[in-house]
């Protein structure tokens, strides 16, 4: 087990290095005059310019530059954002991050709460009318461009029905308590969009897994023992679908973060996605580098943890090698 964990960690580090190199190479495609522009406009001093220029390894080629960046990153120095002139880490781990994480987590909870029961009924009543309609809706949600769904929801719920505001974060000039509720009010449509967009995949996955588990021998045994259908489905079947579920959730999380770039743009939410979009527009190498590494670490850590969890959740799985 320990050997396996060490092996996975080493693979994880290799993957992170690879992702970092690819991102850095892409960023170096951008014209690097942006930094000089910042100095020329008087946003940064000559010393800062020099420090940044060499700190980001702009004087080296792509490979050399990447390792220079890596070296300063290991010392905890991710540089100043070209765009806001503040330390990159302060920019990323800021209230903006809180907003994005909040949207991601809340929509994840709602999505699971909707997808799991629907997926199970769909599988239990296979070939029924309900199953057909659920499957069709899943396929449709699967095929929606997220921004188009967002536009439709705004059209219906904000413009026609007027239930929710169309854009923004909160209404101005309210008491703190009212501002809080105004925030929630503003976040309902974005969260609804995220839930609907990611619902399809989870539902489809739940249905598939439940069907597979339901055909297992121990389910027949449970029925033969005379267990009620409720017990069979929720105690014997559902618990066994949880194992593949853990992995599927792990791969979902990073996707939700990059998806937030499009939706925060549309709903004018000042979250991490919006920041990243602005940063790319301004050729902000340090910020994009840090953000992409953050996403890559999120991916690698959650996938590795999920694989390890596999063994914890299901004692039947033995880790070899």
């Amino acid at each position: 087990m320990l050997k396996y964990i060490i092996k996975r960690v080493i693979f994880g580090i290799i993957i992170l290095l690879g992702v970092g190199l690819i991102t850095y190479a892409a960023l170096r495609l951008m014209p690097t005059d942006f930094l000089y522009e910042q100095y020329r406009l008087g946003h940064i001093t000559w010393e800062t310019y020099q420090e940044m220029y060499y700190g980001l390894g702009f004087n080296h080629g792509v490979f050399g530059g990447f390792f220079v960046w890596l070296g300063s990153a290991f010392q905890g120095n991710f540089g100043l954002s070209f765009f806001t002139n503040r330390p990159v880490m302060e920019e990323i781990f800021s209230p903006r991050m809180g907003i994005t994480v909040m949207i991601v987590i809340i929509s994840m909870i709602f999505q699971l709460a909707i997808a799991i029961p629907l997926g199970i009924t769909s599988a239990v009543n296979q070939y029924s009318k309900r199953d057909y309609s659920i499957t069709f809706i899943v396929m449709m949600l699967f095929s929606f461009p997220s921004f188009f769904l967002a536009a439709l929801l705004v059209m219906v719920f904000a413009v026609w029905l007027g239930w929710f505001p169309t854009q923004g974060m909160f209404a101005l000039g309210l008491s703190p308590a009212a501002t809080f509720f105004s925030r929630i009010h503003h976040l309902i449509l974005p969260i609804m969009t995220v839930v609907l967009i990611s619902l399809g995949g989870t539902l489809r996955f739940t249905r598939m897994n439940t069907l597979e588990v339901l055909s297992a021998d121990y389910i027949r045994t449970a029925r033969a023992k005379g267990c009620s259908e409720r017990v069979v489905v929720y105690k014997h079947a559902f618990r066994n679908t949880l194992v593949p579920f853990v992995t599927s959730m792990a791969t979902l999380l990073p996707g939700l973060f990059s998806g937030s770039i499009i939706l925060e743009q549309f709903f004018a939410i000042e979250g991490l996605g919006n920041l990243v979009f602005m940063a790319t527009r301004h050729g902000d190498v340090p910020l994009m580098m840090a953000y992409n590494m953050f996403l890559a670490i999120l991916t690698v850590v959650s996938v590795t943890l999920a694989d390890l969890m596999y063994a914890v959740v299901d004692p039947r799985i033995k880790i070899t090698k």
Binding site: I15, T23, Y132, T135, P145, F148, A151, M208, G283
Partner: protein, 348 residues
């Protein structure tokens, strides 16, 4: 086990199995059986019909309705032309209007007999944009799917056939590429292309570069699929038999491995087309894919970036969005139908 569409619209399994056996008894060739199964699913046929309609609409539509590309000409009323001007060594794209009528261009035009869906803020006819946009939107997916499939096929085959350290290296590479955050990286490259536009002057060829990059990032899934299939097939009896008969490696690969992997590849290509279309639409929506005056369905939906347009001119973005939705859905239905038809093992 996969969710299959035949479950949706076929009679229960038993009847199906009997029919299948009848097909075999009747002596139909495997190809015919696949075709029969494929056309039995109503949703698959629906998908095909929708796709055919959309393709006809985009490619024949402009000819039938006599609607030339509105970014070049504006039907009847106006004549648009874009060209590059060099001012102090910097190329700038200039749009010039040549008025053909005294009334001037119709910006924000209402739907009329001449402009069925009205005209947009640049006085372009929305209906012609819809048709011309489809030409790019529907075909761009093929580019990236073709590249990523070729890459994935070659690397996956190398990995599965040679094994040993080659397998290790390729699979670790696949791990790296599947962990690269796709959208942020495309954003970076798109932004870089925007900034370098003056030097490169590639115009709308940029979308091909972006789709190429996407394919370059997306081969990992296909490589894993091909590798897994090869590893599985190698253990099958017919491969042992081929070995025993002393067939050459080329013959084993060409005659025995490839035909057995083909169905999986075709299915995942079809399903990939929908994903590639969505990616193109997202990039164009964010303003880094196909750039503004050129019509694609993605750029048309990006009208919703302005709340005023979203509220008051649904005709500008709603039909384009629905067309993206319809075509992605159809690609998915056809892909699922193909899987059901070609891979009886995947069915249930």
């Amino acid at each position: 086990m996969e969710l299959t569409l035949n479950q949706l619209n076929n009679e229960p399994e038993k009847v199906e199995k009997e029919e299948e056996q009848q097909d075999v008894v009747r002596g139909l060739s495997p190809g015919r059986i696949v075709l029969r199964r494929f056309f039995k699913s109503k949703l698959t046929i629906g998908g095909l019909v929708v796709l055919a309609t959309l393709f006809l609409f985009s490619f024949l539509g402009p000819v039938i309705f006599n609607a030339p590309d509105p970014t070049i000409t504006q039907t009847g009323e106006f004549y648009f032309q874009s060209f590059w001007v060099n001012i102090e060594a910097v190329s700038i794209r200039v749009f010039q209007r040549f008025p053909e009528s005294q009334y001037g261009p119709i910006h924000y035009g209402n739907p009329s007999s001449q402009n069925w869906f009205g005209t947009d803020s640049s006085a372009f006819d929305v209906f012609s944009r819809l048709m011309h946009g489809g030409r790019i939107s529907l075909t761009i997916g093929f580019v990236s799917v073709f590249i990523s499939t070729t890459l994935g096929l070659i690397l996956g085959a190398l990995s599965g056939l040679i094994g040993k350290w080659v397998d290790h290296v390729i699979m670790r590479l696949a791990d790296v590429f599947s962990s690269v955050p796709g959208l942020p990286l495309l954003l970076i490259i798109g932004a870089a292309l925007n900034m370098l536009e003056e030097e490169l002057g590639i115009g709308n060829a940029r979308i091909f570069i972006l789709m190429g990059v996407m394919a370059f990032l997306g081969w990992a899934g296909m490589a894993r699929l091909v590798r897994g299939q090869i590893l599985m097939l190698r253990e099958q009896e017919f491969m042992t038999a081929a070995e025993a008969m002393g067939f050459s490696n080329t013959r084993k690969i060409v005659k025995h491995l490839i035909p057995n992997i083909m169905p999986q590849i075709i299915v995942s290509m079809t399903l990939g087309l929908g994903g590639a279309m969505l990616a193109e639409a997202s990039l164009s929506f964010l303003g880094i894919g196909v750039l503004a005056p050129t019509a694609t369905w993605g750029t048309m939906v990006s009208a919703v970036n302005s709340l005023y347009h979203l509220e008051n001119y649904p005709l500008w973005w709603l039909p384009a969005g629905l067309m993206i939705l319809a075509s992605v859905m159809s690609f998915n239905f056809v892909g699922d139908g193909l899987r059901d038809a070609m891979d009886p093992r995947a069915r249930r």
